[in-house]
């Protein structure tokens, strides 16, 4: 049974990462069915309840309530929606922009490469969090703008890493050979170079997803992400911060959730890197 699985699915890291990411993903998709309460429903008689298993807990609020009496578990489940949306779309967007420029720069080299390289250098010299904050101020809050801000800030990461790899592949004789039999530049890139760099690309995307979750959490922590009516993990941390002495649980759950999501994406990325990268030898692939 094990034998029919592709090698990347046999890695423990990939499996662990996939399980974590899948759980969070399912929470996001089926939030209305899974959440016991409306995430914005306020219950002002039972605010700052501790988790159900501790003294003073209420079974109907499994992980307790926040300062406005909203159910923490429901908010976490709904918060996964923002986190996953941002993770998926921001990383894919950043990949698209960064990868296209990387293929152009790495394949054609010369002036184009120098131009794109300088652009990346200049871009990367802005502190990323500050840049995204400025962008959010300019663009205004909202899920779409969060995604856009992360794309605009993080495409450089893809561009730089991928460009180096593209340059290595573009120097292989089989790329010259493809040109010699009459492949156009477009065909050479899509048929010869992209397949060779795909493992790296997949790995980068899964790592970027973790980063996107963190950036979104930071932005929502300072109230620069989605509107206050949409539950987001960073927001929950910000709210709970004020009541840290009354109810530390409120702070711990969203932080742990963010940690878990990022950990999942990183495990997935690291596992994929080990199994897909041809340069990693069999002994390192444990």
């Amino acid at each position: 049974m094990i034998r029919v699985l592709p090698p990347w699915l046999r890695s423990g890291r990939v499996l662990a990462g996939l399980v974590i990411v899948a759980i969070i993903g399912l929470c996001a998709v089926f939030a209305p069915y899974l959440a016991p309460h409306d995430p914005n429903e306020q219950n002002l008689v039972s605010t700052l309840l501790p988790p159900a298993w501790t003294e003073g807990g209420d079974v109907s609020f499994l992980l307790g309530t926040d300062s406005l009496g909203r159910d923490v578990l429901s908010r976490l489940i709904y918060g996964a929606r923002v986190a996953m949306m941002v993770a998926v779309f921001a990383s894919l967007g950043a990949m698209l922009l960064g990868a296209v420029l990387a293929y152009i720069a790495g394949y054609f080299g010369g002036r184009v490469d120098a131009l794109i390289g300088r652009a990346v250098d200049v871009w990367m010299s802005f502190p990323p969090v500050v840049l995204s904050l400025i962008l959010m101020v300019g663009l205004g809050v909202g899920l779409r703008n969060v995604i856009l801000a992360i794309i605009v800030v993080d495409w450089t990461r893809f561009c730089r890493v991928l460009r180096a790899e593209v340059m290595v592949v573009a120097r292989k004789d089989y790329v010259s050979a493809a040109r010699l039999v009459g492949f156009s530049h477009w065909r050479t890139i899509t048929r010869e170079i992209v397949p060779a760099t795909l493992p790296l690309l997949i790995t980068l995307v899964s790592l970027e997803m973790g980063i996107a979750v963190i950036v979104e959490a930071i932005l929502s922590f300072v109230g620069m992400s989605v509107s206050a009516t949409t539950p987001a993990w960073g927001q929950m941390v910000a709210d709970a911060r004020q009541y840290i002495y009354d109810n530390p649980w409120n702070l711990m759950f969203p932080i742990f959730t963010i940690f878990l999501a990022v950990f999942g994406f990183n495990m997935l990325g690291d596992g994929l890197r080990r199994t897909l990268d041809v340069r990693v030898t069999a002994t390192q692939r444990v």
């Binding site: 292989k172 004789d173 089989y174 050979a177 493809a178 040109r179 010699l180 492949f183």
Partner: protein, 626 residues
């Protein structure tokens, strides 16, 4: 009687594979007297490097000595405690590696590395060590040793690095030196000098040397005795001249015959079929390991491993039919006469290529890689281009295919000047000229199946569906001697020789008139090389194409090509019919090149001359520039 420095007694090394253990080395017996050179000869996979690793106890994981002993100066290297061995290695036993650059630490200067080594050998204080280092570098004929000490390895040429390593190896006055293919990564002319240098140092110091090589001719030149290995078992062992002049084992004979000769009239190459069994295939062979490829195999050979048969002078061979070996002959050269030269296909006039080097943002310099090259290639003609690395021969090849633009000059292919590099010219060029790349590893996309690689030209023009392409691929594969099943394999599932065949098949797909082959046999074993050279000659008879064959191996060019161009620093210094140029070289550089090849007759005196590229003047220029 001199003492034996290294004795192997029934040494066997085995490897643990997924399905049991396999012998990697078996029945290894030799004795190396003090001050003598033992040559270990064999193709890749024969286990020759494994012996060096056994001495150092640096066997790969899963490999272990299963029986026998290896006595160094009276002590068993296999069973001695690791600490004792560590004391011996680098002091009494020294190594010269295959890749000079990987043998040196890139972040330390030559001086620091020598100093470190001497400090380990407890040589005096810093000043004494420096003096000693200068002596050492002078002993290996490196110019301006004082300047060299401050250089980093990447600032020196491969040959100079190898000299440094040799100097370090001899610094401790070792009793035993193990040189593992010390010249394979170097140019021919430098190869010859390095080999001579090792021999010279060995004579001066009275060191015993194990010289590992794949070149039987070279081994016969410099070694006292030779052991030919096949699949981990010694096939033949005896005095060097004896083994070379009267090979008793069919494998030795075949090896000799598969190497093109450098003198006399041309003869065909003996192309051994298939290839040496790999580790996992060894289990399936009960009889003689060479049996499946042996031309004089009989039924009895396949029953058990043949015992060693001794003849005079302690010449041993593991063959039951030694007497038939001399009868093995190379096939006669298929006599095509002088090839009928057709129309001039390719005309090159004043070809020049200049690269711009940006040494810094503000400073630029020009480097002329190819300078005013002229030649004409006729239909059905094979032209060889020889020269050392950096002579510009690969740049010429790349310009012929349109992979590099011309700086000046003109290139006329089949009546059309393509030097303008326009779209139409490029298409014309592609239809007539195709290239076979040097390194099959890099030339074949590992993610494509063989059929898809071979028919890439059809893909480029959206020609035919997968079924048609597969059929075309199978036709091409049968033409180049691969089974049709290979079409659905990935390159990683093929051997080096098979990959190179696929490489050739891809170039043949568009039926070009001209093939440009850049060092296509250089990384291959001689038996595989012979197969490929014969394949190229057969293809010429069938397809009547012309070829530009770039190689550093003069014997191969002599065998294959009708005319030869000798390139030196971007210029053609001599050209003419191959036989004429080789018999009567005019230019001093051609003479140097020819002298660098060990002669066919091991008793002839081999006197490689110093090339300008290695001479004091150029080395100094390198040091000064770096």
């Amino acid at each position: 009687m001199s003492m034996d420095m290294l004795i192997a007694k029934d040494l066997a090394v085995s490897a643990a594979l997924a399905d049991g253990t396999v012998p990697v080395i078996q029945e290894l017996n030799f004795s190396l007297p003090q001050g003598k050179i033992l040559g270990l000869v064999g193709e890749s996979g024969a286990g020759k490097s494994m012996i060096g690793r056994t001495v150092a106890q640096l066997l790969p994981p899963g490999f272990a000595v299963s029986s026998g002993e290896l006595m160094f100066n009276g002590q068993d290297l296999v069973r001695m405690p690791a600490e004792t061995r560590r004391e011996l290695l680098g002091r009494e036993i020294a190594f010269v590696p295959q890749e000079p650059l990987s043998g040196l630490n890139p972040v330390l200067t030559i001086g620091q590395q020598i100093d470190e080594h001497l400090a380990r050998l407890n040589v005096g204080n810093r000043r004494e060590r420096r003096a000693r280092a200068l002596d050492m570098l002078a002993a290996v004929h490196l110019p301006r040793p004082a300047d060299l000490l401050g250089k980093y390895p990447h600032q020196l040429s491969g040959g100079m690095c190898q000299r440094v390593l040799i100097a370090m190896a001899f610094a401790s006055r070792p009793k035993l030196l193990i040189a593992d293919e010390p010249t394979t990564a170097l140019d021919v002319t430098i190869q010859a000098r390095i080999v001579q240098l090792i021999a010279e140092m060995q004579r001066n110091e009275g060191t015993s040397v194990i010289f590992i090589t794949h070149d039987l001719r070279l081994a016969a030149q410099i070694c006292d005795s030779i052991m030919v290995l096949y699949a981990g078992r010694p096939a033949e062992y005896g005095p060097a001249r004896e083994v070379f002049a009267r090979p008793a084992h069919p494998y030795t004979r075949c090896l000799q015959l598969s190497n093109p000769s450098m003198s006399g009239s041309g003869r065909g190459l003996y192309a051994l079929p298939e290839r040496m069994p790999g580790l996992s295939a060894l289990k399936g062979i009960n009889g003689c390991l060479f049996g499946p490829r042996c031309p004089s195999v009989v039924e009895a050979c396949n029953r058990r491993q043949p015992p060693y048969v001794a003849s005079e002078n302690g010449h041993l061979a593991a063959c039951v039919r030694c007497e038939t070996t001399p009868a093995i002959a190379a096939p006669a050269l298929v006599d095509v006469g002088a090839p009928v030269l057709g129309e001039p296909l390719l005309k090159v006039e004043g070809l020049t290529k200049t690269f711009r080097i940006d040494s810094s943002f503000f400073r630029r310099s020009d480097f002329t890689a190819v300078k005013d090259v002229n030649f004409t290639l006729h239909q059905n003609e094979f032209i060889g281009i020889v020269g050392e690395s950096g002579s510009g021969k690969s740049t010429v090849a790349r310009m012929m295919c349109g992979l590099e633009k011309l700086t000046a000059g003109s290139l006329t292919i089949a009546g059309r000047d393509v030097s303008d590099g326009s779209k139409a010219s490029q298409a014309h060029q592609r239809a007539h000229v195709q290239m076979v790349f040097q390194d099959p590893q890099s030339a074949l996309n590992p993610r494509r199946k063989v059929a898809s690689i071979v028919t890439q030209a059809m893909e480029a023009t959206n020609d035919g569906d997968w079924g048609e392409r597969l059929a075309r691929a199978e036709a091409l594969l049968s033409e180049i001697g691969l089974p049709p099943e290979a079409a659905t394999r990935f390159p990683s599932q093929l051997s080096g020789g098979q990959k190179q065949r696929v490489n050739i098949a891809r170039a043949l797909c568009v039926a070009p008139n001209i093939l440009v082959a850049d060092e296509i046999v250089s990384g291959l074993d001689v038996s595989v090389q012979a197969q490929l050279l014969n394949l190229l000659l057969r293809l010429r008879r069938e397809r009547h194409f012309s070829m530009l064959f770039i190689s550093h191996d003069l014997s191969v060019v002599r065998y294959l090509c009708d005319r030869v161009l000798v390139m030196y620093r971007g210029e053609v210094v001599e050209s003419g019919p191959t036989a004429e140029v080789f018999a009567d070289p005019r230019h001093p550089y051609t003479r140097t090149l020819l002298a660098a090849v060990p002669p066919d007759d091991p008793s002839a005196i081999w006197k490689p001359q110093p090339v300008e590229g290695e001479s004091a003047a150029v080395c100094e220029a390198m040091v000064a520039n770096a």
